[in-house]
């Protein structure tokens, strides 16, 4: 069809008048929708939108016209305006999801260093059952996928009579997994401290526990910040895995909206939020690294 034919077709459709009170609706709506599509094909947005509005004025509940009008408005806007509009639309849910992600990250960041320290201390202890148990925990939780662990905790434990809420299961999975990873980092940190430090602490009468708490462990902080920071950056992204156990966090929220709108901007916005988190945490760790251990500088 050539352009002239299209214009002619549109003119013919325009003849169909709005129905009077109680008259039949369908032919008029169909004609205006067709007009809108024709003008859209002709890139005449004004007329296409006018056709949509002709339907919506008397019948504002018409979904087809409303959606088409919205997509026409989007097409007319420059790309950045579209992005801003999408941001307005998607951000509330994404931020809600991001808050859940942040909760998971912060709780895991508080719990896993403690868990890691306990496992590390157990691992280097000279009590065979304890060090064996801690070795096993590290071996098991580092050796299997986090996704599998989460599935096991959320879907597997109920068959053993333990049913957990999604949030509890997510925190348990992330907490144990990251404790196991940090345990090895912390153990390495402790073992990197000159053995003479332990001897000097013992020589003034400290118990093993006092020496660890007052002398050895504080010296590991500076050495631990870079590798632990690294793990925590990985953690921020690993929280996306809990979307598989019915948790609505950032990834799940983005996924839901992407499936509803098929709009790639959702994914871009989610990526931006993840990047914001990793950037802020990286900055925090760098600052912390500079502050801790000033004593090493001359």
């Amino acid at each position: 069809m050539v352009m002239g034919d299209l214009v002619e077709a549109a003119e013919r459709l325009a003849v169909i008048a709005p129905p009077s009170e109680g008259g039949e609706l369908a032919p008029f709506v169909r004609s205006r929708m067709q007009m809108a599509r024709i003008f859209h094909a002709l890139k005449d947005y004004e007329k296409a939108m006018a056709a949509c509005r002709e339907i919506l004025d008397p019948y504002p509940q018409n979904v087809e016209a409303a959606n088409f009008l919205r997509s026409l408005e989007r097409e007319r806007l420059p790309a950045y305006r579209v992005f801003i509009k999408d941001a307005w639309l998607f951000l509330p849910s994404l931020i809600q999801g991001a808050m859940m992600t942040l909760t998971l990250v912060v709780v895991t960041m508080l719990v896993s260093p403690l868990g890691g320290l306990l496992i590390a201390l157990g691992r280097i202890s000279r009590i065979p059952p304890l060090s064996g148990l801690c070795w096993f925990i590290i071996w098991f939780f580092r050796g299997t996928p986090l996704l599998l662990q989460l599935f096991f905790i959320y879907y597997g434990l109920p068959s053993l009579g333990i049913t957990l809420k999604p949030l509890t299961a997510a925190l348990l999975g992330l907490g144990i997994n990251y404790s196991a990873y940090l345990a090895e980092i912390i153990r390495g940190g402790i073992e990197s401290i000159d053995h003479g430090q332990m001897e000097a602490a013992k020589a003034i009468g400290m118990t093993y526990g006092q020496a660890m708490r007052r002398v050895i462990i504080p010296q590991t902080y500076k050495r631990l910040i870079p590798p632990v920071g690294n793990e925590f950056i990985a953690l921020i992204k690993d929280t996306a895995l809990v979307s598989t156990i019915a948790m609505v966090e950032l990834m799940r929220a983005a996924d839901q909206m992407f499936n509803a709108y098929f709009n790639v901007n959702v994914l871009i916005l989610a990526a931006c939020i993840y990047l914001l988190f990793t950037t802020v945490f990286t900055f925090c760790f760098e600052t912390l690294e500079r502050r801790v251990g000033v004593y090493e500088k001359r």
């Binding site: 003479g196 013992k202 009468g205 118990t207 093993y208 004593y295």
Partner: protein, 258 residues
């Protein structure tokens, strides 16, 4: 053997093995209050091992350690010699000061913090009193002006003096010095010796392992030459350095050291 009253420390038949190597072979020693014992000898002769056995940084395989007459450190359980409960070992260590070749100051604490650490953590002294005590000890080693700096900023000699102050803050009944000047530049050795000398004048009981023969001769009440895990010879420094020429090995060692 002397009785407990005029003996601070008594070692009876100490044996320490590392696998098939016997580092200390049936060594006995008793140290009187205020006595300064200097142990010399070539590297690997077991001097440091013996010294470290005294406050149980090394676990001995045989023998007894009597500190002020108390048999301490080890109990025999199921025919095996095992260290005593941690509480007793820690109490013993808190009464014996030790100074290491490489200082081992706590790098994350200020100089004052290093010296306060023992009294506060081990003895549970309140911080104000501990601070006062620590300042006094730092004054004793001549480092009052360094109390707020971190150890990394100190010279080797200063570090060793802080280490001595740290040991003294526990108000020990005797002091062990494990090659206190071996890691120091020659020009810094003197200040550490001055500190030890001052301590000696106060009547502190000491066992010193050193390679500095001049200092040994000057400070010792008794010099012991150790080689291959046994005491080869011992005596008053005057006699020792005078008569040792008779013993070929000792004279060879001394000629290398002097």
């Amino acid at each position: 053997m002397k009785n407990g009253k005029n003996t601070v420390l008594e070692l009876r038949g100490i044996v320490k093995r590392y696998g098939s190597l016997t580092a200390v072979k049936d060594v006995s020693l008793s140290v009187a209050p205020g006595e300064k014992v200097v142990i010399i000898g070539p590297s690997g002769s077991g001097k440091s091992t013996l010294l470290r056995s005294v406050n149980m940084l090394e676990r001995i395989d045989e023998g007894h350690i009597l500190f002020e007459g108390r048999d301490v450190g080890y109990v025999t359980r199921k025919g095996k010699r095992v260290p005593d409960c941690q509480k007793n070992i820690c109490r013993l260590r808190s009464e014996i000061g030790m100074v290491f070749q490489h200082f081992y100051l706590f790098p994350h604490m200020s100089v004052l913090g290093n010296v306060m650490e023992g009294p506060v953590t081990v003895k549970g002294m309140d911080k104000v009193a501990a601070r006062e005590l620590a300042c006094l000890m730092l004054e004793k080693v001549g480092l009052s002006d360094k109390r707020d700096v971190f150890p990394a900023t100190l010279s080797g000699g200063q570090k060793q003096r802080v280490a001595i102050a740290r040991a003294l803050a526990m108000q020990p009944k005797m002091m062990l010095f494990d090659e206190p000047t071996s890691a120091l530049d020659p020009e810094l050795v003197g200040e550490v010796f001055d500190t030890i000398r001052a301590l000696a004048r106060e009547g502190m009981t000491m066992i010193i392992v050193t390679h500095q023969m001049g200092f040994a001769r000057e400070i010792a009440d008794r010099v012991i030459f150790m080689e291959n895990g046994v005491f080869v010879d011992s005596g008053k420094p005057g006699d020792f350095f005078g008569t040792c020429q008779e013993n070929e090995r000792i004279s060879a060692f001394l000629s290398r050291c002097l």
